[in-house]
Amino acid sequence: MLITRQLATAKGLSVGDIVSLASTPDGNSPRRFRVAGIYEPVPDPMRLAAKRLEARLHLPDLLSLAADSSDPLSAESVTAINVALTDPADADAFARDVSAKIPIAQLTARAAQGGEGTATVFVVLDRFHFAIAVVTVIASTMFLLALMVMLVEERRETVGILRLIGLRKSRILLQVFAEGLLIAAAGAIVGILFAAALQGAVNAFFQWRYDTALIFVRITPQIAWRCVLLAVPLGVLASVVSSWTLLRSNVLDLARR
């Protein structure tokens, strides 16, 4: 038999050990197996918190161990049949075809990509995390606007003097736009670098906590671009809007100390 790393650690087992397995709680009719190997179970997000104390046997061994002696068909019964296709893209069509041809109502074939239930769980979690992100962006935008209003206020006198000299509002706004673009871009890049570092910390924490190799946070290029495309315009907009409110003031009021 093969056992998972988690089972080996939990029971102090190693390759070559002999263990007894029984299919009933009272341990009747045990059979002895030799641990032939230890494997890392495929991370299953649907079983995140479950302890992966699992073993793999040859099918005939499992059937003979778990068979119900009163049911003549139990040695011929399996839970599922896994099928590997030449072209995995055909999975849905194949599943529909097989389901239609099998006359037993309780038997269904489905494509192995998680299945409907799993997909729904991750769709829901995706929406949940997206909702959290939306709230975070709203909070950040409020803070950003407050800060930009303050920082722009510091430049009140400078802007007033520039206007007195004769610079147009559009000229000043262009400068503000350019500055805002630089600062927002730099901020977005720093933010992504920080997120990448945090990604490592979050994954390390959860992998330790759940003893799994599952990846919980992954910053893909698409996600990074999405963040940049959101952060930069927001930053530029905040600086331009707060500057515009200042530029609407009377020139003499701006320059007066």
Binding site: Q106, V124, I132, L147, L198
Partner: protein, 402 residues
């Protein structure tokens, strides 16, 4: 003018800025409050749900969850033995399975259960009359949930055909049931179709031979006597039947907390931590920038005789007002946000419709207020330090030079 009034006037001086700051704190605070509710929400909700069912102990054959492990065999003797224990008030055996029903020409899965209940029932009758194992009227009888009743337009007295898929026996013919009533099952998911019959009718529908299927149960639901409590009842069960696995509601919730609810507890902790850090950083920046813009004013007040402590306390009061106002607005905002997030998470498969992710508990509010207090203090540390260490003379000089 009191320090509080002075700080308030300082904030109100530029209302737009103050409102933006408070809005940002409110949004951050709402998220933080929600994460605190989420951290215990599922546990509290599960406790409430289990308590509402009326049974405080669950017994299975092994530690495995029902249907993943073996059934309890010799059910009748087991029920009689346990019901005779002084600490136990009632025992209801339950069998769990599935059935197929035709809806609109397509086969749909129904959660199908069998139970013999005497006084208490793990369901609530809404319409019609209840099933009773003591009455054998010949035709099998059924209770259905509202979803199933609605989908098949069933009312008490109607008939419905179910094809049991509860055991390995795949050749069982369909069974026609008479619907006695419509009931609510507390652990039903939002779109779940559920039906329950007596154990005898369940066994019949599943095609069980009388020798085996009828005398087993997947789960025993037990109510302890009020005076003894579930712990004493479990001890009594273990003393007469140490082979069975008995858990109280409390132990069951603890198990859920360790396993099924674990992800949400962890994510709420991580998100709460990040939110706190993020909020703390932004409020510190807000206060620091605001303080730096007032250095001339602060130096003048120091020159006029205002002490370091007085000026530092002004910063602390401003922090308290900003965070306090934002934190107060965050509460109703957080409750509204929680309603939205809860509805979102409710669509997850396998979640009972009556289970809530975000539950308001006094503990969450206490922790929230404590975190706000920490934020007020920590965010003010740097600007207070700036104010306390401000060199008056050179600041005044710098202000004149501009």
């Amino acid at each position: 003018m009191s320090p509080l009034a002075f700080a308030l006037r300082g904030l109100v001086r530029q209302p737009g800025r103050a409102i933006l700051g408070i809005a940002g704190i409110a949004a951050t605070g709402a998220l933080l409050f929600d994460m605190l509710m989420l951290s215990q929400g599922l546990v509290v909700s599960m406790e409430q749900l289990l308590a509402s069912v009326g049974f405080d102990i669950r017994v299975t054959a092994t530690q495995a969850t029902p249907l993943t492990g073996p059934p309890i065999v010799g059910m009748a003797d087991t029920v009689a033995t346990l019901a005779a224990l002084p600490a136990i008030e009632e025992v209801v055996p339950l069998r769990l399975g599935e059935a197929q029903v035709d809806i609109g020409g397509r086969s749909r899965e129904v959660t199908f259960m069998g139970a013999d209940a005497a006084v208490r029932r793990p369901w609530t009758l809404l319409e019609g009359r209840d099933i009773d194992q003591r009455q054998d009227t010949g035709q099998p009888r059924l209770l259905v949930n509202q979803n199933l009743a609605r989908r098949l337009e069933l009312a008490p007295g109607a008939t419905v055909t179910l094809r049991g898929a509860c055991t390995a026996n795949s050749s069982v013919p369909p069974t026609v049931f008479r619907v006695d009533g419509i009931a609510e099952f507390p652990f039903d998911q939002a779109s779940q179709l559920t039906a329950i019959a007596t154990l005898r009718d369940f066994a019949r529908a599943c095609g069980d031979a009388p020798a085996d299927g009828a005398d087993q149960a997947d789960l025993l639901m037990i109510a302890s006597r009020p005076g003894d409590g579930p712990t004493a009842a479990v001890e009594a069960i273990r003393s007469v039947r140490p082979d069975l696995a008995a858990v109280t509601n409390e132990e069951l919730v603890a198990r859920f907390q360790q396993v099924e609810f674990s992800y949400f507890r962890q994510i709420s902790f991580v998100l709460a931590t990040i939110t706190m850090f993020f909020g703390l950083l932004l409020i510190t920046v807000l206060l620091s920038v605001s303080t730096n813009q007032r250095l001339g004013e602060i130096a003048a007040l120091r020159a006029l005789g205002f002490s370091r402590r007085r000026m530092a306390s002004d910063v602390l009061w401003r922090s308290a007002l900003l965070v306090g106002a934002g934190g107060a607005v965050a509460l109703p905002l957080g409750l509204a946000l929680a309603t939205w997030l809860d509805a979102l998470l409710q669509t997850m498969p396998g979640i009972p419709a009556n289970l809530r992710f975000f539950v308001f508990a006094p503990r969450a509010l206490i922790v929230y207020v404590a975190l706000l207090a920490v934020t007020i203090t920590v965010a003010a540390i740097y600007p207070m330090r700036t104010v306390a260490r401000l060199p008056i003379s050179s600041t005044l000089r710098t202000e004149v030079i501009g």
